[in-house]
Symmetry: C2
Subunit: 239 residues, 2 copies
Amino acid sequence: MRHRELDNIKVIGFDADDTLWINEPFFRENEERFCDMLEPYCPRHDILKHLLTIEIRNMELYGYGVKAFVLSMIETAIEISGETIPNKMVKKIMEMGKEQLEMPVELLPSVRETLKELKQDYRLVMVTKGDLLDQERKLKKSSLTSMFHHIEIVSDKREGEYQKIINHLDILPQEFMMVGNSLKSDVIPALAIDAFAVHVPFHTTWIHEMVDVTLTNDKFFEIEKIEDLLPILKIKQPA
Amino acid sequence: MRHRELDNIKVIGFDADDTLWINEPFFRENEERFCDMLEPYCPRHDILKHLLTIEIRNMELYGYGVKAFVLSMIETAIEISGETIPNKMVKKIMEMGKEQLEMPVELLPSVRETLKELKQDYRLVMVTKGDLLDQERKLKKSSLTSMFHHIEIVSDKREGEYQKIINHLDILPQEFMMVGNSLKSDVIPALAIDAFAVHVPFHTTWIHEMVDVTLTNDKFFEIEKIEDLLPILKIKQPA
């Protein structure tokens, strides 16, 4: 059943990482390499647990993104090793971060085609809480720049930030639809301000982004792949 | 002589760091502490030179801000010491960064009064290339949030970014005035897109921000303190 008010939508916001292109697996790969390095000091499972604790502890100060990840890895390595890791390991961690920042952008299936189609009828914006420089670089590498009106960069994705975006776009919440892979960051806070929200799950989700909820909201849609947006939005309701 | 077109200005953009509040001195202080630590390995002057080289080398990947600064300090320390710095020193550098991120915000003189006055007639936006999370935190600590319509965060401050801001604000360049302490980042690129620009020098400027120019442009103003904006903008031209 199609929501009547879907016809009011003017702007569609897209999360970027793991919605438009692959991102989280690069963090997971670097975590594996990090565990390889630190295994002489500690079992793998405990290394990851320790790292997550430190990442969450640093979240308020460092925020999201690769630089925060690298600093938290260095801090974890020093703690786990009892302040005995060699300089080479610190260097290696920093190199892993640089490599991650320089990764080629791999678009998810049918992203370009879907955006191209939607762009004809909607204003598209990218909504991301990553590091602006990094996100701009990825957008450029993705060759999707022309698809988006602009990037909305937020320090976190909570209700307040979505309200700001709405004000900023000068539209009503009912005229906004948010699309992303994170229930916690893309879907729940968007629904909370009375906007539409579409969940496109990605196979890898950072544990800090995980929530356990069942959503029953007639402005919520769950789709398998991004092209499934088209039938939701394109079939016009009879007048 | 007052520029006739000043009457057209609708939006005033303010740089934040070292324009609204003190920032650069905290970097300089941490550089001094960094030199204290590394002096056993290398003369102070060479430490600073080495650090600057690495910061500029990392600029494209890391961008601006405290996290980038910390990562570059660690990289410098490892290089200068020939990979022999103790873990405690790496920890110390990371702690210096965290302290810097948690610094209280010290407003420059007459900032609040001036913004309050200007807010009555203009839309004020904060334009910054720092880290969004860090800038939002500082804005909150400064209690200036209500003065600004929103934050324009940019990955760098060049002509292209100012053009984007203008588009984004949906105004003409002639309706925009940029105010800041950096000729390179706040003044020259704003003048280049035909906006107004006001330079409020601060006593400390990062060497990477320094330029040697004499500006002769009738849309350019040099003032000593931020309150000097008021006579420039408030004395209405006779009709």
